[in-house]
């Protein structure tokens, strides 16, 4: 089995590895970053995202809490009213950071929550209780949705739940079941999605515009083009390993490598909690919004968040304009048309915030030999005109009628 450390990295999928790192460290720090990988089939979108589980760090929760309550900040219906002492008495346990997946047979009940059937049909103590669905259980972790365009097409009601979840940071899930009180839970989950825009039913932004806008960043996967990369991939996936290659890592090295990834994620998350962004970079982002008439505030929020995250993963302590422009295609491609995108991207200095900045787009070199005496008669000034003479339309000025 191939593992995260020995997944092949090449030009076309480099961006996805970056995004995964950024999203994970942001999630650890408590702020979700929703990412979406789009690409042709077989470019490894799903594989890379699923394998990222290998390097997720553990989290601490109140012992046995299915909602993954942070002992310092309990939020679930069972623990939110308890005192610090009571929580300490319950104990704390360490679990792997959640990585759950919404499949295509998902229903509202399994995703948000439903009545607990086992408790309800219990012969001795029948009881009506809520069983939290996948989303509340993924709190402080990652929720993965493969082929999200298909899900958005066939299951609009699940899409609505996702819209609530991703609309704010942290998001909200509401569990409703006839006969039980409505429960509203705060959930902080990074949603990861993958889709092939070329297969039925088409790209996500054409199916559910709002959902597509909720993703902070979209990564477009390329196919590997280098023969070396492809040959190495084949070798790693071969069923036997008779001639061990020095390039191919053994189990121990892989485990060590995963350890390294995890610890750097934890380190970065600590840095992220303290990080700030210089004012000129922030102004630059704001200027892009105004100058190019961008529609979505989410887009510029994502620019700010991602620039900082990217700088941190590159071990730099400050985000620069370069970081922002590197993130631009990933943030804007699903939000604006490609013509505007290219104008934003190529507009490196971002200066000239005026709406009147590019007046030179005026009509082409018109025939300059226009007659000098185009107008024959002199007009009377407006202030001498009565009310009924003020406004004339095409009809009231009909030349043929007048003559």
């Amino acid at each position: 089995m191939i593992q995260y450390a020995n997944l092949e990295r090449y030009e076309g999928n480099e961006a996805l590895f970056d995004l995964i790192k950024m999203s994970m460290l942001s999630t650890i720090a408590g702020e979700p970053l929703h990412i979406h990988a789009e690409g042709l089939r077989g470019t490894g979108k799903t594989t890379i995202m699923r394998k990222a589980q290998d390097i997720l760090p553990p989290i601490k929760r109140i012992k046995g809490c299915i909602y993954n309550c942070d002992p310092k900040e309990p939020h679930c219906p069972h623990h939110r009213e308890l005192s610090a002492q009571e929580i300490a008495d319950l104990g704390v346990e360490e679990i792997p950071m959640p990585f759950l997946e919404i499949s295509h047979s998902a229903k509202v009940g399994t995703v948000a929550g439903s009545i607990d059937l086992a408790k309800l049909t219990d012969e001795s103590h029948p009881e009506a209780r809520l069983l939290p669905g996948l989303i509340p259980q993924a709190h402080r972790g990652i929720l993965f949705i493969d082929e999200i365009n298909r899900l958005a097409d066939t299951a609009p009601e699940i899409t609505d739940i996702l819209l609530d979840l991703m609309g704010t940071k942290p998001g909200i899930v509401q569990i409703e079941e006839a006969g039980l009180p409505v429960v509203k839970i705060k959930v902080s989950v990074s949603v990861w999605a993958a889709s092939n825009p070329d297969e039925d039913p088409g790209p996500l932004e054409e199916i559910r515009r709002q959902l597509s806008d909720r993703f902070d960043m979209v990564c477009y996967m390329g196919r590997p083009t280098s023969i070396d990369v492809l040959a190495k991939m084949l070798k790693e996936n071969f069923h036997t390993n008779i001639h061990p290659d020095k390039d191919i890592m053994d189990e121990a090295t892989i485990a060590k490598k995963h350890q390294e990834y995890t610890s750097s994620l934890l380190k970065w998350a600590e840095i992220y909690k303290q990080a700030d962004i210089p004012d000129f970079v922030r102004n630059y982002i704001a200027r892009l919004y105004v100058k190019h008439n961008l529609e979505s505030i989410r887009a510029i929020e994502a620019m700010q968040q991602s620039a900082v995250l990217y700088a941190i993963t590159k071990n730099r302590d400050q985000a620069t304009i370069n970081d922002v422009s590197r993130m631009l295609p990933l943030i804007l491609k699903h939000r604006i048309n490609s013509d505007t995108l290219i104008k934003v991207i190529n507009d490196i200095d971002g200066k000239g915030e005026s709406i009147f900045s590019s007046v030179n787009k005026s009509a082409k070199k018109t025939d300059l030999a226009e007659e000098k005496e185009y107008f024959k008669s002199v007009g009377r000034p407006l202030k001498f005109l009565g009310r009924n003479e003020l406004i004339n339309t095409e009809k009231s000025l009909d030349v043929n009628k007048a003559d």
Partner: protein, 590 residues
């Protein structure tokens, strides 16, 4: 007239103007305000073609904000042109006068403002930022002009013979137009010039100018390296170039075909005549490529690809799947419907059949309907709940507890495009019809077929298919020329439809002419009518897309085919896609 009364009547003129403006501008119309001012949200042009002097044309397809200021949204900018007899006006004088007039107006409206210096200034300067003035002597925002900052006039700018004013105003702020117009007129008169009377206005369209993409797509082939260098995304730029070309040429294969024409190997080139028939005018695209440094003129071989151009060609070949995905994504995009104008005559009357399938995401509790798939979990919950109410001792499931999965239905519509491929369809119209076929295939769940007719016969370009490559390969072979044998086109399409197993077939005929090549008799029109009258018995929905000039015949045709006729002013991509979507919705509603 004493000043008291004149100022009173002035205010009512302001309101009247504002009311009329919000009425007419809201209907996308322009008006003449007074005798010398033209106001609209569009670009204005003179009409040198016609002999009528003093007439101003309002170009309804050219939004002023988009044309002059690169705005993205429509209707943001009010365009005010004040015409005067030849002479020079200093835009700074105009700016100062407007500024003072606004000041006066606001203080008149609300005398309190006199004492709130700061609020007043803030209000005025926000307007001063939103209004731009240009004349022959230069241009700028009122705010800048007021401070003597002026951008010099360059050839081609608006305002050479009139005062050209663009104001970013909301509907509620249209009263400003009157203030701007009267003040500007006063400045003109004070400068010793005379106002010109605009004799009449008319509304028209300007032929869509082709987009100049050469100046903003940057092709830096090598990736910039190093921390300090500014990062540019070469792939995005190449993608955009390919998308632009694909819009014109159709697909990657056709782009390759086109680029091949500029190879150094003369034997591989095809004639200019071939190009023109297939793609229409391509000169503009060659110019753009030259601007990007991808093509160059050489003395011996004519225009050829440069080294950079060859690299792009290579890149396109290597990244064909990714680029094709991008192109298909573009084809799927539904164009904005606002610009589409069409007229519909008649209605197709065929009944539709639908397909049902189980919706596993939705359950229903309906004890009258016993058919369908049982939803076990929901049933158990319901049984438990009602068991409690019934006071059952043991768990039991009754008929009324049963939950089923819901059913969905949809109406599949298989589409056959019957395309006129006579000489008059060459170029843009051909491209538009091809784009429609691709769009229908990629956005629907149904099959699409294409039949063309030209010269003396018709042929099936693509049979009913869901396979995009079959369709696009077929479309690439369409090469318009010759006569319009409509009857044989209809018969070929009919034959194809009856031989294929199709659901709710919809035949869409796209043509800009009338038949002029007969099938059975000597009368080509009668033959076409005869052929179309066979449609209703086959239960084929029929719509026909034509242009106004052929209306009389088309009306007869759609009537005989028991279908609907759509008339458009231009057979372009947006019109075609939007009206077919409209028709599909109409069919679904029935």
């Amino acid at each position: 007239m004493n000043s008291e009364r004149s100022s009173k009547s002035n205010i009512s003129n302001i309101t009247t103007t504002a009311n009329y403006l919000s009425l007419y501008l809201g209907q996308d119309q322009g008006v003449r305000l007074g005798e010398s001012v033209v106001v609209s949200t569009k670009a204005h042009a003179r009409m040198p073609k016609k002999k009528i002097k003093g007439q101003i044309e309002i170009l309804t397809n050219r939004d002023a904000g988009k044309t002059y200021l690169n705005c993205i949204d429509l209707d943001q900018i009010v365009h005010i042109d004040v015409y005067h007899l030849p002479g020079e006006i200093d835009p700074r004088d105009v700016a100062r006068a407007i500024f003072r007039a606004m000041d006066q107006y606001f203080t008149n409206q609300d005398p309190q403002l006199q004492y709130a210096e700061e609020v007043r200034f803030k209000m005025l300067s926000s307007y001063a930022e939103k209004i731009q003035i240009s004349t022959k002597l230069g241009k700028g925002k009122i705010y800048d002009l007021f401070q003597n900052e002026i951008i010099p006039y360059t050839v081609g700018d608006e305002g050479r013979d009139h005062v050209h004013i663009l104001a970013r105003l909301n509907r509620e702020e249209y009263f400003m137009v009157y203030i701007i117009a009267t003040t500007t007129e006063e400045v003109i008169i004070q400068s010793g010039l005379q106002l010109a009377q605009v004799r009449s206005i008319s509304h028209g369209k300007q032929k869509e100018q082709e987009d100049d993409f050469g100046h903003y797509i940057k092709i830096p082939w090598k990736r910039f390296s190093g921390q300090e260098a500014t990062f540019m995304s070469p792939e995005e730029n190449v993608n955009q170039l390919v998308l632009k070309l694909a819009e014109k040429f159709g697909g990657i294969e056709e782009i390759q075909d086109w680029m091949q024409m500029y190879s150094r190997n003369i034997l591989k080139r095809k004639g200019a005549e071939y190009q023109k028939k297939k793609w229409g005018d391509i000169e503009h695209y060659v110019e753009q490529m030259e601007e990007m440094g991808l093509m160059q003129k050489t003395p011996l071989l004519g225009t050829t690809l440069t080294k950079k151009g060859l690299e792009i060609q290579d890149y396109i070949i290597k990244h064909k799947p990714e680029l094709e995905t991008e192109i298909r994504r573009n084809i799927r995009r539904v164009p904005g419907g606002s610009s589409t104008r069409f007229r519909k005559v008649g209605q197709s009357k065929q009944k539709t059949t639908q397909v049902e399938f189980v919706d596993y995401h939705k359950t229903i509790n309906n004890s009258d309907n016993w058919t369908g798939n049982l939803a076990v979990a929901e049933t158990v919950i319901q049984a438990k709940k009602s068991g409690l109410l019934r006071g059952d001792k043991h768990f039991s499931i009754k008929k009324e507890d049963l939950y089923f999965y819901d059913k969905k239905s949809y109406v599949p519509i298989d589409i056959c495009l019957l395309m006129d491929a006579s000489g008059s369809m060459a170029g843009d119209k051909r491209q538009a019809a091809c784009a429609l076929a691709q769009h229908l295939l990629l956005t629907g769940k149904e099959r699409v077929a294409v039949v063309t007719f030209q010269e003396h016969s018709a042929r099936v370009v693509a049979p009913f298919t869901r396979n995009q490559s079959i369709l696009s390969k077929g479309l690439a072979t369409i090469n318009p020329s010759g006569l319009t044998p409509m009857a044989s086109g209809i018969m070929t399409a009919l034959d194809l439809i009856s031989k294929s197993r199709v659901h709710n077939p919809l035949l869409i005929m796209i043509t800009d002419g009338i038949p002029n090549s007969p099938l059975w008799t000597m009368d080509s029109k009668a033959d076409a009518l005869e052929a179309i009258s066979k449609l209703p018995e086959q239960k084929i929905h029929f719509i026909c897309i034509g242009v106004e000039s052929t209306r009389l015949f088309m009306e007869k045709l759609s009537e005989r085919g028991e279908g609907a006729l759509y008339l458009v002013d231009d057979l372009n991509k947006e019109n075609l896609i939007n009206l077919v979507r409209y028709e599909k919705n109409e069919i679904l509603k029935r």
